[in-house]
Symmetry: C2
Subunit: 218 residues, 2 copies
DNA sequence: CCAATTCCTGACCGTATGGTCAAGAAGAGA
DNA sequence: TCTCTTCTTGACCATACGGTCAGGAATTGG
């Protein structure tokens, strides 16, 4: 019973429809892959006629590109937790929390991203080569700084980053497998908390963060 | 100039063609996903007419199922390194080595597997619920035994396994991203060695394996 | 040597898909 | 109110796809 008394303005209509279509597309692309997704199915999920999708997004590729780009934005935002941190325990701990939360709240987005990269990034290769490379190099400098300050072991920062990405995104991308191994049930709040705790503990301890800093994380 | 003097027997022909087709299919499914892959493209890669594929594998789904199952076998085999181990350093260390080697040698297979699971395992859900569950529970017992013996910290074995899977498979599934971040070049022998070393060190130290056991790993 | 069986493949078919279009409905702006 | 622009959508189209099939070639087994 949504009260739609006042008719929507054209601008509102456009914004609303684009949002609806993008949400439906993210879901369908995640579940079926780019090749397996059909415009008809996306339209059905969005509750709009197929021709209407093509009014807002000229081609399937264009729609897909928008989906991937919006995911990349979310991804980059989480990465900011890194910046202001004062040391590895705080910085990496917050980063892990943020990425785990994304895996929990936006599993479809994570899957679309994974699928895109697995297929050699046909539509966002330029992003990888520019934004991602810059971001990564910046974080490598931060981590190297921590190493130079003796706040963690001399780990190759790249492999540490890969491990962070892999582990946190695994909970979204392989969520179905995890669910199956959890007797078919999604992880409960407590299980998610335990997952975060385990990941943080293993990694932070593994890179040589002093015990008293770990204790401070609760 | 392969010397094909003696004509192949029917059985050899069948074995050879099935192998060729499965190899081509694995590659194409990995690169394009199930929905994006076409029988025509698989046929081209295999160097056979499309109709010939349908002679050996009745449908696209049947061919795909064979590919996924063969990957699952490789996966299970690597898992045996676990069994005979005498402690976490040796057992998990060997397991990580084995899985990293699979990621390096069979990236396409890993990608197909990842894609299948991401799409909620439409064709191998029964395997997940039987073989994988059994295997996982067995390893959990092994790990729990190590914990009970005080050979490692009391980590939830499930999340440790997820981290192992995620991290090792990441080098295959996200190999393109890693390559991009490596100036577009594949990892060298030395870089692969360093990756293995980093992963093993972080995880084993992270779960509380005593330092002298880590040193023993080189 | 002669069936019987297995293998091979070009041509073909029905369907589903991405995309188009024309004609109308609905706000916007004056 | 009247025009202009934006939005909506059923019907349509060309193509590409998975799959079929008939008929010939090759190998097998007796």
């Amino acid at each position: 019973m949504a009260s739609n008394l006042r008719p929507l303005s054209k601008k509102e209509i456009r914004r609303e429809n684009e949002r609806t279509i993008l949400a439906a597309a993210e879901k369908v692309f995640a579940e079926a892959g780019f090749g397996g997704a059909t415009m008809q199915l996306i339209a059905d999920v969005a509750g709009l006629p197929k021709a209407n999708l093509h009014y807002y997004f000229p081609t399937k590729e264009a729609l897909y590109r928008e989906v991937v780009q919006s995911i990349f934005q979310v991804w980059l935002q989480a990465a900011n937790t890194f910046e202001s941190a004062e040391g590895p325990a705080e910085g990496l701990g917050a980063y892990i929390d943020a990425k785990m939360e994304i895996s929990r709240r936006h599993p479809a987005g994570s899957k679309v991203w994974a699928s895109e990269v697995m297929h050699r990034a046909p539509v966002i290769q330029d992003y990888l080569e520019t934004t991602l490379v810059e971001w990564t190099n910046g974080r490598i400098d931060v981590i190297q700084g921590w190493i130079d300050d003796g706040r963690m072991d001399p780990i190759d920062p790249r492999h540490l980053l890969y491990m962070l990405w892999a582990t946190t995104q695994h909970y979204a991308d392989f969520g179905h497998q995890i669910e199956t191994l959890n007797n078919g049930a999604p992880l409960s709040d407590a299980q998610w908390a335990e997952a975060k705790r385990s990941v943080k503990m293993i990694i932070l301890k593994g890179i040589g963060v002093p015990q008293h800093e770990l204790d401070a994380l609760k």
